[in-house]
């Protein structure tokens, strides 16, 4: 159930993909993300030519996106963002695939999916988001009214 709290907080409920708790600024995209050939694993930036986040870094951000696409190097490239210290702080996504499941597991960041409201509609870039993956809870504080 989605709960709207008084101080412009929204709470979403979903399923744990990778456990843990993290909070930070949201980076939201409606475009699916490629790992190999879609990100620079040394800088943590999106590099795909026609992507709306091209040139933007997801380092330390709560990455909110539809899911993974493209090469099977997805997990290996997000794995390397962890080894290079530029991984996202948490991942929130809609479509489950083997690429995103394995990618989230090896990135070692909390990750959730199957939320009771579309996170792409509820969360905007710049919102403050707390992900409690162990309990499947996402708490959003809207930037605009904060």
């Amino acid at each position: 159930m989605t709960t709207a709290l008084a101080n412009n907080k929204i709470v979403l409920h979903g399923r744990k993909v990778v456990g843990g708790v993290a909070e930070g600024e949201a980076l939201v995209t409606n475009d699916t993300i490629s790992g190999w050939g879609g990100i620079n694993e040394r800088e943590g930036t999106v590099i795909e030519r026609r992507h709306e986040l091209r040139g933007v870094s997801f380092k330390d951000k709560i990455l909110v996106f539809p899911g993974a696409k493209g090469s099977s190097g997805w997990s290996a490239y997000f794995h390397m963002t962890r080894l290079n210290g530029v991984k996202p702080k948490a991942m929130i996504f809609n479509t489950m695939t083997t690429k995103i499941a394995l990618g989230a597991v090896v990135t070692h960041s909390p990750a959730v999916t199957e939320l009771d409201q579309d996170p792409l509609k509820v969360i905007e870039t710049g919102d403050w988001v707390k992900v409690d993956a162990d309990n499947g809870i996402v708490e959003v504080t809207k930037r605009s009214k904060a």
């Binding site: 997990s75 290996a76 794995h79 597991v105």
Partner: protein, 424 residues
């Protein structure tokens, strides 16, 4: 997740620390997916090489450290024993013979060669190609596999009727050691049915056109399963290879059906098998042009690098290129790399194709490609290719504009130094 006794034994460490780490990863991965169990596999295609600049530091700790971290997601270094499943290495970053032409530092080449010896002795067969199905790994219908390489995965599922998800470096490492992979996604028959009907209204025959169709359809269906009908002419290994690679680049297509042609769809009814059709898509002249325009991002017609063979060329493609080049010389400002699996390069050499290409000034490469290696000839400003997949990825990976067209357009470009393509 429910484990069998043998799996539980591995999970508990009774088969040694490496298999324990492998099972630990498979369980974490399976639970992330929501899988209920694992399935046995004896066919693994993965990436076990240690030749990229990013792993230089890790290699200093030894190959057990490389495999532990990159193939098992284990920060603890465990001793890696022989693989339990039949396993092969996919494409790598380095051509073991032409590395100097690629411009690869020699220390990385030595690193790759040593790693190949080490992992080869553990049972990882060094096919070194993105197309294992061209050089002897041809799974049978219904066989459970654990493959990486999106273009090979879509071929395995759709054309061969074998069953694999798009696995990654870590899950293939774990599968190779345990002979297990999560039973999820394309391993389950119900998930292999069609979702979208694509009606092809323009003739699709040339390799370029199969690539354009794949690129257009992939972007629309994303991870779903298109069922293609209409004017699909002369389907073949080469055309499926290009179609699937394109659809897995613009989207995440891992399976498609062509009723009457591919093994799990005798007709449209069987392709959907009762699954509700999400959308009907028409592919005509306008859609073809849209895909073509999206793949062509260059405007400077002076081309200094032509790349052919992604996915790696079949011998028929090498032969076609060689015959077009026979007795001619490449333009002074243009370089040509032709990529084919090492086993097929041997055939091309015996046939005289390699000589025809090299006499013209071209290079026949194996083991790698520019997108994987991130190397193009030094000073390259504009690229031309016959591959929708390379045309999709190279602008992002190398930061260079790309022309996309037919093999003939590309060979003529290599001979004249000017882009010769255009939509007919």
């Amino acid at each position: 997740m429910k484990l069998t006794d043998a799996e539980q034994a591995m999970y508990d460490g009774r088969d040694g620390p490496a298999r324990q780490k492998a099972m630990d990863l498979l369980v974490r991965y399976g639970e992330a997916l929501g899988a209920e169990r694992l399935v046995q596999t004896n066919n693994v295609a993965g990436a076990f090489n240690a030749s990229t600049p990013s792993v230089r530091e890790l290699v200093k700790k030894g190959y057990d450290a490389v495999f532990s971290e990159l193939n098992l997601d284990s920060q603890e270094i465990v001793e890696i024993p022989k693989m339990r499943a039949n396993t092969c290495q996919l494409i790598t970053g380095i051509d073991n013979d032409n590395w100097h032409i690629q411009g690869i530092p020699q220390d990385l080449v030595e690193q790759q060669k040593k790693a190949e010896k080490h992992f080869g002795a553990l049972g990882i067969n060094m096919f070194a190609t993105c197309t294992p199905y061209q050089v002897g790994n041809v799974p049978v219908k219904g066989e459970h596999c654990a493959w990486m390489e999106s273009s090979a995965v879509v071929y395995c599922n759709s054309v061969l009727g074998a069953r694999t998800n798009t696995e990654g470096k870590e899950s293939t490492g774990a599968a190779a050691l345990t002979g297990r992979i999560p039973y999820w996604g394309y391993h389950i028959p119900e998930n292999r049915r069609g979702t979208h009907l694509v009606e092809v209204d323009v003739e699709v025959d040339d390799i370029m056109d199969w690539g354009l169709l794949g690129y257009y359809v992939g972007e629309i269906v994303q991870e779903e399963i298109p069922v293609l009908t209409g004017k699909l002419l002369n389907p073949s290994l080469i055309k499926f290879k290009h179609f699937g690679a394109a659809a897995a680049s613009s989207g995440g297509v891992e399976m498609y059906h062509i009723p009457g042609v591919t093994p799990e769809a005798r007709d449209i009814e069987e392709a959907f098998s009762g699954r509700k059709m999400v959308e009907k898509i028409r592919y005509g002249a306008a859609e073809r042009k849209l895909a073509y325009d999206r793949l062509n991002c260059a405007d400077n017609r002076d081309v200094d690098f032509v790349m052919l063979g992604c996915p790696h060329n079949a011998i028929e493609q090498v032969s076609l290129i060689a015959l077009m080049l026979e007795g001619k010389k490449l333009h002074a400002n243009t370089q040509l790399w032709v990529h084919t699996p090492r086993a097929l390069r041997e055939v091309a050499d015996r046939n005289g194709y390699v000589k025809m290409i090299t006499d013209a000034g071209g290079v026949v490469m194996s083991d790698t490609c520019p997108a994987i290696s991130r190397y193009a000839p030094k000073g390259t400003k504009v690229i031309a290719t016959d591959s929708a997949k390379q045309a999709h990825y190279l602008p992002a990976i190398l930061g260079l504009p790309v022309w996309f067209g037919t093999v003939k357009d590309c060979v003529n470009t290599a001979l004249t130094g000017r882009w010769q393509g255009g939509l007919q």
